[in-house]
Amino acid sequence: MSVHPILFELRNVTKSYVIEKVTDYTVLKNIMLTLHSGQTVAITGPSGSGKSTMLNILGTLDKPSEGDVFFRDQNITELSTNDLARIRNQDIGFIFQLHHLLPQCTVLENVLIPVLAFGNSDDIDKATHRAEVLLTRVGLGQHMNSMPGTLSGGESQRVAVVRALINNPSILLADEPTGSLDQDNAKSLMELLVDLNNEENTTLVVVTHSNELAKMMNSVYHLQNGQLEKQQ
């Protein structure tokens, strides 16, 4: 039994899609999952198994068709759009397969974009300092005022990681974060994520195809045919 408090809990989560009013396609079936603070989790599974869907439900970007999602003992399936946005902004950090940096903003500005959603000028000042620290930490201290177009893929993804961490979230959700990177950059990024998890004490959930990456996590879950099985 973990000594860390429960952060997220999926209870009997089912997700179905109705296509052309005929087919009811169930992606997730009665998923039960508990995530503790500071835990690192990998979710693996074949393409189309619903990994990203589960991640989106965790990230409050999507809602389950059935079942409940608890965040810090609060059932978030009943929350308003704005409340969910606040949780997403303050407690969750997203990392996508593509970095999705805004080409019109500098590296530092990209990192600060999440702060604008709920922060005031004091928050921005503090966040700017934190961004500078984090960017330096990930080796991009020289590139703070660079435009994203001048960065390599690995560097861009590291900026995305810093952006995800800027609001000091409780959980980092990474959807195939190394999918667009070469092997070296992928390894380097994963090491960075694990290190940052230790330093920031955030929960880390990674959706990946990579066994190597999965092995770096505390727990590994495999998703197939809508069922989630713990493997490690």
Binding site: G59, D62, L102, I113, V115, L116, S121, S180
Partner: protein, 1097 residues
């Protein structure tokens, strides 16, 4: 970092790719919108400007028409009030140049003195024209190519105070001519276009020396117009002016004269108009003056069964005379008793003419019993009461008589000459006043003289007592606030702002769609960004505001640029209205006028429209889950109609079209237009349903394998069917409406031979400046105008005309009182001429013209007008009342009892001739005519009538051409709609290019797959181009065929003016330009590498 910085970053980054195209789109939309609104202001301001030009500094005016008052009246009011006043003798006349080769038949002749120019803006350096010189306005100078020192012949009708329709009025009007030299040309802003009528078209003005003109037309020291400027002295109110007019108004201004008989000391009141107007009787009663009233008449014969005395005056007896007679008794003088060999108690018959409504002479007789015989001295006392009958009383001898009735001079005997020499016009007989009034009373008056016998009465006492009870308006002298009325007419006239917004509907809609597409396209391109913001915890409202402010900057810049484009668009429209579209406004004097409030309104409306389109797309995006936004090529929603329902609906529509085709005769006229337009709309809907069916069913059939690029392209149209059908529908509806509305013009020959048509079945319409007094339907009348008197099928509809303001669509001003036509309703009823749209009185539905003869109450006159005039010119409807003032100052309630379908009468209201003559007795004769001429006589008509009525200032044209003049305006509007609509369609075709960009963007991965599968780039381009050309051509075919069906009645209408060339150009230009855009946009977008799109997915 803050929101503002983020917005600025975004704006800068997407400046070229998004904001410049969006700003240009916004600029076009707002430009057209603002331009259309400014056109309204410009036309309105131009009309106001024209009002100031035509009135100068004149604020108030008296225009008494055919009634003349003293020229000195102006001096008296001027001295009293110390305001600028100009007396004017305003007449109609002709200007003839080069021996008649060039002439203007309807010129405004203005007899002025130097005071006239004090009322002109900028006080031009003109003075009173010298004898035999004139000043002319620019319009006349241009028309006759006249320059300073050129000479031309000026011709005007002689004036007679005596109403031309009154008994004994002469039926021949003499003209007076002078050769004049042009001393100067008066520009429009120097009062050159002086006109008291609210109309944007300038009259042909000739400014003549007042004294010379007044002398020429034989009314020295008289005028009929006074112009005032009350603005110069604000302390003078309208009431003070009216008070001054009343104070200075005297008997001479009312054509009355008082004289004291030197012998008897009696005072006699007579009128220059022979008959003392009915109002005089009322005034005498109100004044309390003791008086004796008399009626003297000229009779054809006084006769017994054996004897006859020709042409004599008969008068009424003193009512307080010692002789009292009954209505059937007569007193004769001793000369007559001897001549007829009669004595007391004998019967005596009087033969005399009375004048009918249309100047026809009716011979009537009355029999009297001789009551007594008086001596000649006693009879001679009545001589002083004899009015001045024209052509009679001033004659030296009987054989010089030339009255307005036929006289057989052979009947005049020597003893009659002797009587005339000895006793002159001494009445030969006397009857009771009541009887005289019963026999000879007419609308011009019921007495010919009044005698005041009280020796205490002075001339001034009598005059003052009567005038105290009267107002000048009782004698047709009214002051009108012409400036205020003119400004109100110009400001309330046709709203060209609204009109051009409607006419520019397509171009505005197209540019709005284009702009909307640009904004939507830009937002769609940044769907991923929206998703990212959502994932990062931004609330939807924050994202909306983020994009909103960024795009709002663009919208503001676009709209500001658009206001400049709007001014250019306005200039283009004004230039076109002054030249190729002059038919819509009738003047080239349009000026650009920029009203800040209107421009701000336009900016506001444009911004609002753009903001709405931004919000709609933002709302659409942020309600979609963020997870989906990051995936490309996924349509938001897929829905589909049941194919069976589509087929059933299509079949039902097709049946409807077939029913219309076989049940409606396309040549049936207006009724067919509605039916076929409905049929065309059904075809339009059916075309889209079938198109939808085909693109959605493609692929369902087991044999529908993709065998060619074309088939693949066709299949693709079904994949995004909502977008496909939207593109096709927009194009088809655009083509349908632009062609059906724009090409649906009035033909000039549309059944104009039918009595029910707008010409009433008449061949010719003609008007004259000076009235024609002859009955053109009589043998003499036909002879007068050179028409074969033996042909009975010739018919003239002769009409009286009180020219006030033109309320036709040719006048842009909103007039209050249209000109009045007095018409013979019985003739029109018997012909069943013209078509009524609405009638007030259901009982008269089958004989609507007869409602004009019906009595609706005191001072209520039934009238008929064109529906167009009522609705657009006056803003009235059947059942409404218009208020006029009769010649004697009474308020007339003109009740609209019916409305006509578009007719040659447009611009006027029609009342019965009886009502006309009783309320406007001084406006004599006929000035408007419709002629029904058999084909065999048309050449004779066209050769003789214009020539023989030349001195009447005839303007003639085939009746259908008169109708066509009104249609010209409507047709010009339709041309404008067609041209602007076509521009809109062409502009809208750019939208097709933007749709292509969106499609390619959404389907980059799919197209990249084709590349991966070995398709060449050219083949992919071909695929995309064919796919969209299918939509373009489908829309065009559906729209064009539906429009052609809807227009069938136009094709079957003789003389219809379908602008085939414009329609063909639209039908050709649209696919050509559309294909060009498709090619260019496809080329542009597919130049970017496609394969990365595969990696992204």
């Amino acid at each position: 970092m803050n929101f503002f910085k983020l917005i600025v970053n975004n704006f800068k980054y997407f400046l070229h790719s998004q904001h410049i195209p969006m700003a240009l789109g916004t600029m076009i939309t707002s430009g057209v919108l603002i331009g259309a609104l400014i056109v309204g202001d410009s036309v309105k301001e131009s009309l106001v400007n024209i009002t100031y030009n035509r009135l100068g500094n004149v604020t108030h005016a008296i225009d008494s028409g055919d009634r003349y008052f003293r020229y000195q009246l102006a001096d008296e009011i001027e001295n009293e009030l110390e305001i600028p006043i100009a007396p004017v003798l305003k007449l109609n006349g002709f200007a003839i140049k080069d021996g008649g080769e060039q002439r203007v038949n309807q010129a405004q002749i203005l007899g002025i003195d130097k005071r006239f120019w004090n009322l002109a803006p900028n006080y031009p350096n003109f003075s009173e024209p010298a004898q035999n010189t004139v000043l002319i306005n620019e319009k006349l100078a241009n028309q006759l190519d006249l320059h300073i020192d050129d000479e031309f012949l000026l011709r005007v009708k002689s004036i007679d105070y005596f109403p031309v329709d009154a008994p004994f009025a002469l039926d021949i009007q003499h003209t007076a001519s002078i050769r004049v030299k042009v001393a100067g040309i008066v520009s429009d802003n120097q009062l050159g276009r002086f006109n008291l009528q609210a109309n944007q078209t300038s009259p042909f003005n000739i400014f003549v020396n007042y004294n010379q003109l007044a002398t020429l037309v034989d009314i020295p020291d008289k005028c009929n117009t006074l112009l005032f400027n009350l603005n110069l002295r604000n302390s003078i109110s309208f009431n003070e002016l009216s008070g001054s007019l009343k104070f200075n108004f005297n008997f001479a201004d009312a054509s009355l004269s008082l004289s004291r008989d030197s012998g008897s000391k009696e005072v006699i009141l007579k009128s220059d108009r022979i008959f003392l107007e009915p109002v005089i009787g009322d005034l005498l009663e109100q004044s309390g003056l003791e008086n004796q009233q008399y009626f003297t008449y000229f009779v054809n014969a006084l006769k017994t069964s054996t004897h006859s005395t020709p042409y004599s005056f008969v008068s009424s007896l003193d009512t307080d005379a010692s002789i009292k007679i009954k209505n059937d008794e007569i007193v004769i003088n001793s000369w007559l008793a001897r001549d007829l060999n009669v004595s007391k108690g004998d019967s005596l018959t009087l033969d005399y003419f009375i004048v009918g409504t249309n100047r026809d002479l009716i011979l009537e007789s009355s029999v009297f019993k001789i009551h007594s015989i008086i001596g000649m001295p006693q009879a001679q006392r009545a001589l002083k009461l004899l009015p001045d009958f024209p052509g009679l009383t001033e004659s030296e001898n009987c054989r010089d008589w030339d009255p307005g009735i036929p006289i057989d001079l052979d009947m005049i005997r020597d003893k009659d000459e002797v009587y005339w020499d000895e006793y002159h016009g001494t009445p030969k007989a006397f009857i009771n006043l009541d009887k005289a009034q019963e026999l000879w009373g007419n609308r011009f008056g019921n007495m010919t003289a009044v005698k005041f016998t009280n020796d205490k009465y002075t001339l001034s006492l009598i005059e003052n007592k009567i005038l105290d009870k009267s107002t000048p308006s009782l004698f047709g002298i009214n002051i009108k606030p012409v400036l205020d009325e003119g400004l109100a007419a110009s400001k309330n006239g046709v709203d060209f702002g609204e009109l051009f917004l409607s006419l520019s509907f397509f171009i505005i809609a197209a540019s709005l769609i284009l702009t909307g597409l640009l904004y939507v396209f830009s937002l769609e391109q940044r769907k991923g960004e929206t998703g990212l913001y959502l994932a990062l915890g931004y609330r939807p409202i924050q994202i909306k505001l983020l994009f909103f402010f960024e795009f709002f900057i663009t919208a503001v810049i676009g709209v500001l640029l658009g206001s400049g484009v709007g001014i250019l668009y306005d200039l283009f429209i004004l230039k076109a209205l002054g030249s190729i579209w002059i038919g819509a406004v009738g003047t080239s004097d349009l000026i650009l006028f920029l009203k800040p409030a209107t421009i701000l309104n336009g900016i506001g409306i444009s911004l609002l429209l753009v903001v709405i389109s931004i919000f709609i797309e933002l709302k659409r995006q942020t309600i979609v889950p963020a997870t989906r936004l990051q995936r490309r090529g996924q349509p938001y929603k897929i829905s589909k109609l049941n194919p069976k329902i589509i087929l059933y609906l299509s079949a039902a529509l097709f049946v409807g079209v077939i029913i219309i085709l076989f049940s409606s005769d396309p040549g049936r006229g207006k009724q067919a237009y509605g039916a076929f337009f409905g049929g065309g709309s059904m075809l339009l809907l059916m075309g889209h349903l079938l198109f939808y069916y085909f693109i959605t069913q493609k692929g369902k059939s087991p044999n529908s394998h993709v065998q060619s690029i074309f088939k693949l392209a066709f299949s693709n149209t079904g994949r995004t069917r909502s977008k496909s059908i939207a593109i096709t529908a927009i194009l088809a509806i655009g083509v349908f409406l632009v062609i059906t509305v724009g090409a649906n013009r009035h033909g000039t020959l549309v059944h104009s031979d039918l009595r029910s048509s707008g010409t009433g079945g008449f061949e010719y319409w003609f008007t004259t400046t000076s009235p024609v007094l002859q009955d053109l339907n009589s043998i003499d009348g036909k002879d007068y105008i050179g028409i074969d008197t033996r042909n009975d099928s010739v018919l003239f509809l002769t009409m009286r005309h009180n020219i006030i303001d033109d309320a036709s669509c040719l006048n842009l001003n909103m007039v209050k009182n249209p000109s009045i036509i007095g018409i013979n309703a019985n003739v029109l009823d018997s012909l069943q001429a013209f078509t009524f749209i609405k009638t007030l009185d259901r009982q008269h539905k089958t004989n609507p013209w007869l409602t004009l003869n019906k009595r609706y109450g005191d001072n209520i006159i039934p009238a008929v007008a064109d529906e167009t005039v009522l609705v657009w010119g006056l803003g009235k409807a059947v059942g409404d009342t218009l208020y006029y003032t009769s010649e004697n100052g009474q308020e007339l309630k003109v009740l609209i009892v019916g409305s006509l379908a578009g007719s040659v009468f447009q611009g006027n209201i029609l009342i019965s001739e009886d009502n006309f003559v009783s309320n406007y007795p001084s406006i004599g004769g006929y000035r408007i005519f419709l002629a029904d001429i058999p084909v065999s006589l048309t050449k004779q008509f066209e050769l003789n009538v214009p020539r023989l009525l030349m001195d009447h200032g005839i303007e003639w044209m085939p009746a259908y051409e008169r109708l066509a003049q009104f249609h010209t305006i409507e047709n010009t509007y339709l041309s404008i709609f067609l041209i602007l609509g076509a521009l809109g369609l062409l502009l809208g075709s750019i939208g097709l290019g933007i749709v292509i960009l969106r499609n390619i963007l959404e389907r980059r991965a799919e197209l990249a797959l084709f590349t991966a599968l070995g398709f060449t780039l050219d083949k992919i381009k071909k695929l995309v181009i064919i796919e969209h050309v299918i939509l373009l051509i489908s829309g065009l075919i559906i729209g064009t065929f539906s429009a052609l069906f809807a227009m069938m009645p136009v094709f079957f209408t003789p003389g219809s003016q379908v602008p085939y060339l414009t329609v063909i150009l639209i039908v050709l230009a649209l696919p050509l330009l559309g294909t060009l855009w498709i090619y260019l946009f496809t080329q542009r977008e597919l130049l970017k590498p496609l394969l990365p799109a595969l990696k992204n997915d």
